[in-house]
Subunit: 349 residues, 2 copies
């Protein structure tokens, strides 16, 4: 697997050997100089940041837990660091917010190799740099169990540009960015492969899916542009899958939805993988999680709203997959008839 | 022990039984209505908060990991919730910041009883209410290992009122709030007691120490008042103990310190406990952690600064324990001569 961890010599220094203060110094030395609007950065009791004048603060936190969200056999520590920030960037993107500063909190098994922490940091800092996010603090502690990686992200948004999960109205079109199902197919392939103990290379169409799972691309540009143009009634990111997104954007507001099965943009590799597994590709994509695309509820009138949506998101594609309904049921529509929408994905159970 | 967990019936519902969505609903129902400056509170992809006009944002995150920071045999889940917020309040207090909103991220073992989550939330929400902090979001996930409680706290501070760890100057007095050593003595008693398997009530003088360990009182009022009055050159909270605080406030700036052993305000219960354990009470208090007092470096001239410090902190006491030196050594001074300052406390190794 191109993404696998290079072999670690048995003598590799562990975080226990290094100790907290030296590990902290090592991390601090890797963090690039903070931008001028960071008054106090990494290394104090808290970080101090100048807010964007006239804007609102947006804050979110999300964790990656070893054995729940990642498996060190499946991907590199670089990918873990990337994804820990990416899932938070996706949350801010769903609000339309521009990310600014991150905190990284690690609970580390004592025998974890120091260079695994370095790799995790590589992944996180590379993605942070590409989104101009400054790492300004966090926390280091020991874990007597799995590796915990928590990232907190603080961003800003103009007062009238906030998108929320509420606000969808009957008749709104449901639009999803990019393609779905890739992460679920990638996970399926990795689990099958790990269980078989095989070291096979990832087949061509599935490499994209595995990459989608391990290194998701949060839709920051799409989210901020859609928010700025005030095009949509509601937005959510698809961390827990498309079916869950449709549910969250409608049910709490007493609404329902019809999703057109034929319209769901399942990516090619996933479609082939699920078909080979004798699973319905659309149902698998709906109930699979971790695609980190965005779902919007968009008014049909004026029709210019939908055109504008396509324009501000391009070259990323956006697909109408269904309609918000006043009736609270959640349905999956096929030429052969309606069925209940599958349930979303959960890391929890 | 007054603080112990009430017996849980074997049939208690677990978080696994309840599931993520219903647990989230249960938490949401417990959170009081958000203040008007919270534009989007708990339940969306991120929280949206109006910053204080003209002020800076201050943000920190800190974790409590089962088996590292707490032991469910020693204290109630209410205390865990209290402390998870308290340690973050203490970080903001050390900067002089006023806390405003919190995020709570939980990684829960599947067999954890739902009412244990309720208790954790009780402790956190009670302390939040007393500091007018709004819980506006967070994250829920499963843990395949220990219970993991991460709190992120966002506050605000006036532009010229920020206190940092840097800024101490040779000749500055080192002042500590309240008393130290209590948490370390409390931990010592609990460990001794748990190991003996005994259910003895906490002896009189030690009850205060145990309470200090399990339910620390962050010095929010002291920190914000000292920051507002711009009295000190540097400040830090004593999460990792007084010796570590003295080190952090001097060494990175190329400075040292002399700590007067006789001046260290070790609390009575701790003094008796350490003496009975045949440990030097001052050394034990210096190297013990988790007192969550504040340490300040205060200019001696004008002398009014020190008087003002005492006045704004009252009725909490503040004690001069030593002096910042240009020479980088860290010394503990006794009538019998100088020794090296003991090392601080660390959760990490």
């Amino acid at each position: 697997m191109p993404d696998a961890n290079p072999a670690v010599p048995a003598t590799a220094e562990s975080v226990h050997d290094l100790g907290e203060h030296r590990l902290l110094d090592r991390i601090r030395a890797r963090v690039p100089p903070a931008p001028p609007w960071v008054a106090v950065g990494i290394g104090d009791d808290a970080a101090v940041v100048e807010p964007v004048r006239g804007a609102l603060d947006v804050v979110t936190t999300d964790a990656m837990v070893e054995g729940v969200h990642f498996d060190r056999r499946f991907g590199s520590m670089t990918a873990v660091g990337h994804k820990a920030l990416a899932i938070n960037l996706s949350d801010l993107a769903a609000m339309g917010a521009i990310p600014r500063v991150a905190l990284l909190s690690l609970a580390l098994p004592g025998d974890l190799a120091v260079h695994d922490v370095d790799r995790l940091l590589n992944g996180l800092l590379d993605l942070a740099a590409s989104h101009r996010v400054a790492l300004v603090g966090g926390n280091l502690t020991r874990s007597p169990g799995p590796l915990f990686v928590e990232v907190t992200l603080l961003g800003s948004i103009g007062r009238r540009k906030v998108m929320t999960r509420q606000g969808a109205r009957p008749g709104d079109g449901l639009y999803v960015t990019g393609e779905v199902g890739g992460a679920a197919a990638g996970l399926g392939w990795l689990q099958r492969n790990a269980n078989a103990g095989s070291g096979d290379a990832v087949p061509d169409g599935l490499a994209v899916c595995v990459d989608r799972l391990l290194r998701p691309s949060p839709r920051v540009r799409a989210g901020t542009r859609v928010g700025r143009n005030r095009i949509v009634h509601a937005a959510i990111d698809l961390s827990d899958g498309l079916a869950d997104g449709v549910t969250q954007i409608t049910q709490p507001s007493g609404l329902g939805a019809i999703v057109e099965a034929d319209a769901v943009p399942v990516c090619d590799g996933a479609r082939r993988w699920f078909a080979a597994e004798q699973r319905d590709p659309v149902e698998a994509a709906l109930s699979g999680g971790e695609d980190y695309e965005l779902l919007f509820a968009v008014p049909d009138r004026p029709p210019s709203a939908v055109r504008l949506l396509g324009r501000v998101i391009a070259p990323l594609r956006v697909t109408r997959i269904g309609t918000v309904t006043a009736e609270p049921a959640l349905r999956l529509r096929r030429p052969s008839g309606d069925a209940t929408l599958p349930r979303g994905f959960t890391h929890f159970l």
